[in-house]
Symmetry: C2
């Protein structure tokens, strides 16, 4: 078995990215680190997000990872460029893969993005889209009710449908997008509801799926795809409550997650530079 791949997130949301990584790269071993203790990162100042992210990165670098995935929109927006230029391994975030997939998908160049208040305010998706094609027209909509709904396990039924429907109303009324980016790692869990609400003519893009596919390309590009055929045993770490993390994780994954250890915040601080 070769080197593992590190996945960091502010909490549990990035597990949807990890799930896609495990599906699309079944030979690879992943080490997931969710900073549930200090979640969410969205409302925190930039310097603090950078500090917390670096603490996780330092831990994973000691584990000799071959690649790093930032499975958190806020951390991607604040740290991707720095990590890419400083770390000796490939680093990718979740924003650009979603943006590239939207450009591939859209025929009328009108794209919707839904996410947390922080992600929408940051303009990270419009900037990523316009950097490639400045004729893109992007409509962002913050959907604050979605994260608590998903974390409470409300993934289907009348209550979920009602929340999704009323939250997405401004986007439906706005104009004629043909592509919608799920710009928050929690949202893939309600993708079917969003798809139903927006209509089958809208291509709904899950950043996690695209991030996993781009990870596959980068590994191949650097000739570091896992060659063996042993079954990888993944590791999932949380900085917060283990039971709560395990509960959400096992609700989201098809198979129960076997390994789930706690890393104390102090350990982070010891490994920080």
């Amino acid at each position: 078995m070769g080197k593992p791949i590190g996945v960091i997130d502010s909490g549990v949301g990035g597990l949807t990215v990890a799930r896609e990584l495990m599906r699309q790269l079944p030979k690879e071993k992943f080490i997931y680190l969710g900073d549930t203790l200090r979640c969410p990162y969205g409302p925190r100042p930039k310097d603090q997000v950078k500090e917390f992210t670096w603490q996780m990165v330092h831990y994973l670098m000691r584990r000799d990872i071959k690649m790093l995935i930032i499975a958190c929109n806020t951390a991607t927006a604040y740290t991707l460029n720095e990590l890419q230029s400083v770390l000796p391994i490939p680093v990718i975030g979740v924003i650009e893969p979603g943006a590239r997939a939207a450009i591939k998908s859209s025929r009328n160049k009108r794209i919707g993005v839904i996410g947390t208040e922080g992600t929408i305010k940051s303009q990270a998706y419009p900037e990523a889209l316009k950097a490639i094609d400045h004729s893109m027209r992007v409509n962002g909509l913050a959907c604050p009710p979605f994260v608590p709904m998903v974390e409470n396990g409300i993934l289907e039924g009348p209550e979920a449908e009602e929340i999704v429907s009323s939250t997405l109303l401004p986007l439906k009324e706005m104009n004629h997008i043909d592509t919608l980016i799920l710009g928050c790692t929690h949202y893939p869990l309600i993708k079917d509801l969003v798809q139903k609400e927006m209509g089958s003519h809208i291509n709904v893009i899950s950043s996690g799926e695209e991030t996993a596919s781009e990870t596959s390309l980068i590994l191949a590009y650097h000739n570091v795809l896992e060659q063996g055929d042993s079954t990888p045993v993944h590791e999932f770490y949380t900085t917060g409550d283990m039971e709560k993390f395990r509960l959400v994780a096992n609700r989201w994954f098809e198979e129960p997650i076997q390994v789930l250890k706690l890393i104390e915040l102090e350990q982070f601080e010891k490994t920080a530079k």
Copy 2:
């Protein structure tokens, strides 16, 4: 304007890849080289395909390209690894992007691939798929009538429908794929016909679309995305009959291709090492 991107193909088929590249990367300038004089590459011995491909590569390297796209399945199968290890610029082919997109798309891990006799015989797609996930089950089908049909401009109507229907019959009868890779650069022009014949439950993947999206990632990854906002003027070269090339190209592109120069074979030979 920064450096251009080179696209090579054995003939006109790669124009579908070029079209996608131009759509998804509207700021980038492309130089396309189609070796129509010596097309098709499929039946030729490996050493000859490598020789012809290198001749095109030498020409483009003199034009100071920043990246090379091999928009030809045969040339990709025979030369990608060598070009990737020798050239000082990023190189990608059309096979792996299609394979990665199929892995992303498939839920039941049963994938169909259609292509020329040469591509299907080469097992390039099954190998690329199984290298990432060896539980993939792949059914290949050679579709010899499709290339002449497309080059003759028969892209819709009863004749085209009949050819597509009867050619795809073995694949429809075979088993329960949920994803079909168009493993030939000509086929995106009959994607709608193939989709209709296979049914809406099958995700039909066009390698060109995926190759363009992966090109976008590699350019971003190396920080060489075009920054300016001048409109690029692309260049299209053929080694064979200019009028014939222009005829096919203008039938395929929404806007007529303005620049189209002939490069004599002798010029190739002069630039070969």
